[in-house]
Symmetry: C2
Subunit: 216 residues, 2 copies
């Protein structure tokens, strides 16, 4: 299975590439192909240093879409709409959104678009044959890249297609100690996305780091 | 410290009375005083059966407000506004809201009032000298009454007054294995409240029971 990562040179994108490429063919996309290639080189070196083989290819964001069976949008919310406007070829793709629309004053808060959530906005921007799935939203961003750190979190997955949802849940369950949970249809992705500013506030006000969540 | 429970004969209210009355003076309120007295008798019997002393008084909701230093609104969201309209005397009280505005179709979703959250609506209905604090929102309702069950969950607490917030966090930390976390100002109580329909969906779609949350 090929996983394309749009925004694969950002923190979460690179972390995902590190965590996924020993098990899957990972196509790392970037606005600048050279950056994607450099990220892949760095990831390969890190993984080889740990005695791990990997399958990584650095390309443009467009090619990450074209080649991925699953396409992960590992980009900040403010870049999502502009980026999607430059890309085509999402027909029949599984599109994973770990995107959280968050703003900050003295605290973090959830600031969704008019569609109700980043996931619903993304769905509205893609062809009807693409299936959007919210996942990985609440995994602490910094932890992705720390390969020595176990990702021992719960992951809520929202999607309107049960087959696709199961496929993404299976993917989640292969990453470190992440455990996937069916959190319902895409319409409630807003709740999942809004957990992230809650976790950021918990970290901020309780002097903690990289706070994650577990359903118990 | 006296804790008044408005709606103390409901599931959560009665569970709170059971969990809190061995440590605090608990004033159980109900629309019908006789029901509150009956609930207190039942709680007392349960607790004595476990060799526990307790301090319980069954009264009207109004007296639970009057006598409580902390007043917990243990009522369903749809009853909150009508109930508050019948009650007075909230001046200078600490008012704890575990209330979650939730609706259900094929799944559960967050359905806040125009104020943004139950907590903010409650704040708007009370005198300015009352301090509203969102807490206990995500504790599985059924678990409160099962005294044999450890409540091993995280509790996000939102409040605009740091002193009051600390007082409520201290209270939370005395209940079973609950652990309180400062989740920021009352303005973000919406996020905390919305976690509850997420947990209900997780339970529903993954065939789990009484799902709670832990910040890790």
């Amino acid at each position: 299975m090929k996983i394309g990562i749009v925004g694969g040179t950002g923190d979460i994108g690179e972390g995902m590439a590190l965590r996924l490429s020993p098990k899957y063919d990972v196509i790392v996309g970037s606005r600048e192909e050279a950056k994607a290639i450099a990220t892949c080189d760095a990831c390969r070196e890190t993984l080889h240093g740990q005695g791990l083989e990997c399958s990584l290819l650095g390309v443009t964001n467009q090619r990450a879409v074209d080649e991925g069976d699953i396409v992960v949008l590992a980009i900040p919310f403010r870049h999502v709409a502009p980026t999607l406007k430059t890309l085509t070829g999402f027909e029949d793709k599984i599109v994973v959104s770990p995107v959280n629309p968050i703003e900050r004053t003295t605290h973090f808060y959830y600031a969704p678009p008019p569609e109700g959530s980043a996931a619903m906005m993304i769905k509205g921007m893609l062809p009807a044959s693409a299936t959007v799935c919210a996942a990985f939203n609440n995994v602490a961003a910094n932890k992705w890249k720390m390969l020595d750190e176990e990702l021992d979190y719960s992951v809520a997955v929202c999607c309107d297609d049960d087959g696709v949802k199961q496929k993404v849940m299976d993917l989640v369950n292969t990453v470190s100690s992440l455990r996937a949970y069916d959190a319902g249809p895409l319409a409630v992705a807003s709740i999942v996305e809004s957990v992230t500013p809650l976790l950021l506030n918990i970290a901020r006000f309780n002097r903690m780091r990289d706070v994650g969540i577990k359903f118990v």
